[in-house]
């Protein structure tokens, strides 16, 4: 039975309004506790010894001196892992602590618990590890294709090869009148959340463990942690602590098992906090990519084929490389109709830092490749870059590379038109040097400065793809509290800053016509909510809260229908009252509830998807698709290579605006991370060693780097999604990078095929 129609009377601070965040006051007063702020009486500090080598055999580990150090309570190695010695998101291949081999620099080897963090670090220095250092395998192409390369794992160095075969490539190649080819590279980006990895593990009397951590997905943590500790899942109780940003980097485990092991071993609470430098080694990064693209088209710009090879460097362990590969493959030609497609995407193991989830997840790398190609094609045909995109733009009914028919609105042509019609920023006022590249560094007064304009288009899948049973769980309990109907919402979904707790309140207000909503702390005492990733929580946990509210409403209506003799389908909830269509207000909800709360727990699943065929890549692998387009205007000092992004304009279709402030924040944030990838951010890895693990050497955009943005937000609802919404956090991360790169190419006339683009790339290329 479907729930009776929703009330018409809008509720204040419901869906579509922009209420303040319930966690806002705590965040502006400093009271909100992040994982690194946790404290427990009698707690010890944990610290991690990491491998200095990207590849080595461990001959021996001598912990005796460390153990003898005053103030040290425990020194643990792989021998002390109580249960499974390996964990992993998809493949269980990552050692909790290195056993006989280390495969990347920074791999955890041993743990210390001590009464003071400084003592713990001194003890780390006393652990003697004897290594046989091996030549690291750092070239992903070699790892994939060179038979002489050492195999880093039993099943070889290819994590996943996903081909896509659509149409008949030979026909496309025969028909093409122009062909453009390019090789492109994407460097290794770091999520660089501001709040480093941290957490607290507290042993419990029943031999279990309580874990307070900053994570994106507690249940998947739990499924990995419990076996390593040899504990049943119900003896590992997780509670989300304050999360200082995530962006994918908290999808894998970091300190969770380590802290729990130390706590079980010592019987004391253990706190672990990574410092910034350790954080660069403590989580996975965005996969660097090597890409070869070939596009064929008719002279009028119509694409006839696309061919691509995409190699993603997954580093030492699998993490989420399997799914990153699937995204890069299935979205490998982007939102364009191409009749003949041949893509080969490889995820490979190397001795570079492990790579996994980061905002945009495989789609970012491919987007940089295919968008660079669209610009090449436009140049080859002497067409406007927007025109060549427009001609080939998908729309509802189009078929994607994986054979999936786009069955919801996809108004790309309209979005491009709107972008074209967006006014251009004025030329820089050169009398104020802050408006110029180099700014107050006074490097130019306008000489050598040229303006460039570039465009980028991105297509991102929303929610988990490829047959994953993706769901979220919510409990909604409606009770009268102090004479007011009050809803308590409980989920395991991670608020990482995106505003999910705000949205949960909005949904309850809209669905139950009440004002007061309390969001319970997220923990594992309720069913899985899935990850805060893939732009999926508004859809999935929003969906779960909505269906739980609908169930509560149904129960109210059934009871009220009995009590008041009015048909249930004539009832609605508004202003905290039960209202009948003809009879008006029947009762105040608080009175109606009395001392009997009404509660419902519901799961929300999205429509099923399919795995990509391993040979052809065909299959309806995505639930939802979202589009974003960017125009970048960049001033480049072509003599010094310095640049200033003058403005970024974005058009994004979000289906339905749920909370405009948060939505705009997501577009700003996603765009800025794309800007970082375009011109600033790269983990520089030399021979498997990270050379810049600090915020002085790994640069993320500051407020000065962030240009003014023009946002144009469209609302074409997706009928399959709650309220018609589309996930919004990732799409802008895709399209801003190629737009900025294109603008720099436009200003300089250089090919610039690798991001991030630095000054040296510009000046060394200018003759």
């Amino acid at each position: 039975m479907s729930a009776p129609a929703n009330i018409d009377a809008p509720t204040r601070d419901g869906v579509g309004d922009s209420p303040q965040r319930p966690d806002g006051i705590g965040k502006v007063t400093g009271e909100f506790a992040y994982a690194s702020d946790l404290w427990h009486d009698d707690m010890l500090w944990g610290a991690t010894l990491r491998s200095p080598h990207p590849y080595a055999r461990i001959r021996s580990i001598d912990i005796s001196a460390a153990l003898a150090h005053p103030g040290v309570y425990a020194v643990l190695t792989h021998e002390d892992v109580p249960g499974a010695k390996y964990y992993g998101l998809d493949h269980v291949d990552q050692p909790v602590l290195a056993i006989d081999t280390v495969r990347y620099q920074g791999e955890p080897v041993a743990l210390v618990a001590a009464e003071h963090p400084e003592i713990a670090r001194r003890a780390l220095a006393k652990i003697e590890v004897s290594y046989d250092v091996l030549e690291p395998l750092t070239d992903p192409r070699k790892a994939a294709f060179d038979a002489t390369a050492p195999a880093l794992h039993e099943h070889g160095n290819i994590v996943r090869h996903q081909p896509v075969r659509f149409g008949k490539i030979s026909e496309g190649q025969r028909a093409a009148e122009v062909v453009v080819r390019g090789e492109y590279q994407v460097g290794m980006q770091d999520q660089a959340f501001l709040g480093p990895e941290a957490g607290l593990a507290v042993p419990t009397e029943d031999g279990g463990i309580e874990l307070y951590v900053a994570t994106q997905w507690m249940h998947v943590d739990l499924r990995q942690i419990a076996p390593c500790l040899a504990l049943p899942e119900d003896k590992v109780r997780m509670t989300l602590s304050g999360v200082g940003g995530a962006f994918g980097a908290r999808e894998d485990l970091s300190m969770q098992v380590h802290a729990a092991m130390l706590a079980l071993h010592t019987g004391k609470p253990i706190k672990i906090v990574y410092n910034r430098e350790e954080s660069f080694f403590g989580h996975v990064h965005r996969h660097p990519a090597l890409m070869r693209y070939e596009h064929g088209a008719w002279r009028d710009g119509t694409l006839v084929y696309a061919k691509a090879e995409i190699i993603l460097d997954g580093g030492a362990y699998t993490s989420s490389t399997m799914n990153v590969v699937a995204n890069a493959a299935s979205l490998g030609v982007g939102p364009y109709s191409v009749p003949h497609i041949e893509i080969d995407t490889y995820g490979v193991y190397t001795n570079n830092p492990p790579c996994g989830a980061m905002r945009g997840f495989g789609a970012v790398q491919a987007c940089y490749g295919y968008e660079s190609q669209m610009d090449r094609l436009a140049a080859e045909l002497d067409m406007h870059p927007l025109e060549v995109r427009r001609i080939n733009a998908i729309s509802q009914g189009s078929v994607l590379a994986n054979g999936q028919v786009v069955d919801t609105p996809a108004p790309l042509a309209e979005m491009l038109d709107r972008l074209a019609a967006t006014p251009q920023p004025e030329p820089a006022d050169q009398t104020d040097i802050r408006n110029l590249p180099g700014g107050a560094a006074n490097t130019t007064h306008g000489e050598g400065v040229r303006r460039g304009i570039g465009y980028g288009v991105g297509l991102k899948n929303i929610c988990f793809s490829e047959g994953a049973d993706d769901y979220s769980t919510a409990r909604v309990r409606l009770a009268a509290v102090g004479g007011e109907p009050t809803a308590l919402v409980h989920t395991a979904a991670a608020e990482v800053g995106q505003g999910l707790v705000t949205l949960q309140g909005q949904i309850v207000r809209t669905e139950l016509g009440i004002e007061r909503v309390v969001i319970a702390p997220a923990d594992t005492q309720i069913g899985d909510a899935g990850s805060t990733s893939a732009s999926r929580q508004s859809y999935m946990t929003g969906g779960a809260v909505k269906v739980a509210c609908e169930a509560v409403r149904e129960m109210i209506f059934e009871r009220a229908a009995d009590q008041f003799g009015v048909p249930a389908d004539e009832l609605s909830l508004a202003g905290g009252k039960i209202v009948a269509q003809c009879a008006g207000v029947l009762a105040a909800l608080a009175d109606f509830l009395g001392t009997e709360p009404i509660e419902a727990v519901r799961e929300f699943h999205h429509r099923p998807t399919q795995r990509m065929d391993p040979v052809t890549g065909q299959g309806d692998s995505h639930t939802q698709l979202a589009l974003c387009v960017h125009r970048a205007v960049v001033d480049v000092d072509v003599e010094l290579g310095l640049l200033k992004v003058v403005e970024l304009a974005a058009v994004q279709d979000v289906g339905k605006v749920l909370h405009r402030n948060s939505l705009e924040g997501q577009i700003h944030g996603g765009t800025a991370q794309g800007l970082g990838l375009a011109v600033l951010e790269e983990i520089q890895v030399v021979d498997g060693l990270i050379r810049n693990p600090s915020f002085t050497d790994y640069l993320i955009p500051t407020i000065l780097d962030m240009p003014p943005m023009r946002l144009d937000i469209l609302e074409n609802p997706d009928p399959h999604a709650p309220y018609g919404l589309r996930g919004a956090g990732e799409p802008p991360t895709l399209s801003s990078t190629p737009a900025i790169a294109a603008a720099i190419r436009d200003a300089t006339g250089l090919p610039l095929t690798r991001v991030p683009i630095g000054p040296e790339d510009i000046i060394h290329s200018v003759k």
Partner: protein
Amino acid sequence: MRSRRKFEGRQPVSEQREQIGASRRTFLVGGLSAGAGLAGATMLGGSGTAVASQSTELAAAAAPPPDTRKITLTVNGQARTTDVDTRASLLDVLRERIGLTGTKKGCNQGACGACTILVDGDRTLACLTLAARYEQREITTIEGLAEGNRLHPVQQAFIERDGFQCGFCTSGQIVSAVGLLNERPDVPDAEIPELMSGNLCRCAAYPNITAAIRDARGEG
């Protein structure tokens, strides 16, 4: 736009501490080059790796080893007397000894601004400040801005403009903005970014942060 430095075989900053000068930094260098235990406590085993550590952080903040001193700090108008390691940063003392965790540690290296506090009204990075040198000074942290339940106008503006997402940078942003408006009550719009550029926000709530500061300007 700042420019990236390439590290092809060049030393990363963590090995280049000697090049950092001044105040607490000078002190740090002394500690490091003396080969004291602090520097020896590297995160990675082995020697000469790229990952020598920022291990001076938390130095003796929680349970003081020998070199301690009793100091009295004035924090948010309250006198706080505590034993501290003379090498401890003000950030660690605030967070670990005094229990004021609103001030955040994003880098412990002066690069992110998350630890911004006010010292006699001036914006100061608590991670680059030795606690023992700050007796007799008025220290204000994020916890000291609101009056009871009444938020400081800058805090209120951050809420209204949604000037944050995860909020980890927010204490630093707000304290920095309060300091900025102390320095320049009528700061023109065009100068706000330059004067706030020491505070990173990875969520990039920058447009809303700017809007919040504009709103709060003139209300203080």
